[in-house]
């Protein structure tokens, strides 16, 4: 069953949401978070992006005042309903160990409207293949 309205969509059909962004180390945490969000919270409006992370800019001293070498990082973006946002934020924080050093950071932003999204039903499960 589709989550899209039958008639021509209007802006008001798409409720305000929250966007949660996480900067995570490039160690596979982003994929694990995405899998857990889908399985445990039903979140599929999410994805991750490879970035160059330049942390602690102000503290690093380098020759000639140049920038420190960047680290590879992942930027995770999760869209969820306003009602879910606090719970999802906390879930990601503890799952990704954001409270530990060098584990990244995260923030939550308002989204004025977001279309629904659903995955095709016939995609085999990545682990079981079923």
């Amino acid at each position: 069953m589709s989550t899209m309205p039958d008639s021509a969509p209007r802006r008001s059909d798409f409720p305000t949401c929250k966007a949660i962004y996480c900067i995570l180390p490039d160690d596979g945490t982003d994929k694990r978070v995405l899998v857990e969000l889908r399985k445990k919270k039903g979140i599929v409006r999410a994805g991750s992006l490879t970035c160059r992370g330049i942390g602690a800019l102000a503290e690093v001293k380098t020759k000639g005042g140049k920038l420190p070498e960047p680290d590879l990082a992942k930027q995770l973006c999760v869209i969820c309903s306003e009602a879910q946002a606090d719970q999802i934020f906390d879930f990601i924080f503890w799952f990704a160990n954001i409270d530990k050093p060098v584990r990244g950071s995260m923030w939550q932003q308002p989204v004025m409207g977001c279309t629904p999204y659903e995955l095709p039903a016939d995609i085999p499960d990545e682990e079981t293949g079923a």
């Binding site: 929250k18 962004y21 900067i23 992006l49 490879t50 970035c51 160059r52 992370g53 330049i54 942390g55 602690a56 800019l57 102000a58 005042g65 140049k66 920038l67 960047p70 990082a73 930027q75 946002a85 934020f89 906390d90 924080f93 503890w94 954001i98 409270d99 530990k100 050093p101 060098v102 584990r103 990244g104 950071s105 995260m106 923030w107 939550q108 932003q109 308002p110």
Partner: protein, 120 residues
Amino acid sequence: MSEIIFLTDVAVITCIVDKERTDAVLLAARDVGARGAIVHTTQGWGTRERLGVWGVAVETEKDVINFMVSSDQQDLIFEAIYQAADLNAPGRGFMFITPVDRAATYVPEAVRQQLHVNTE
């Protein structure tokens, strides 16, 4: 389980510039107190293609730079980046600030104790 310390009064500055200006932007932001940045590369076109010297279609790589900054610092950092990226010149790029509801990251134990936050 310890508590999450939520940071409020935070904003995200997003700046889209040509790749060769990225380092200048990062250095300028650092000089006025930015603590970190995330950069990713994107490739594509703007609203006009024929901006090159020869008037030919230019496909260029841009960097998208995100800074999470405190609200107190946002204007200062925004202005510094604007100058460094030379954004008042046509075709150089653009930037924007978006509000943040809350943020969280690692907070050292000493700071948690100062804030009297549960550390267990």
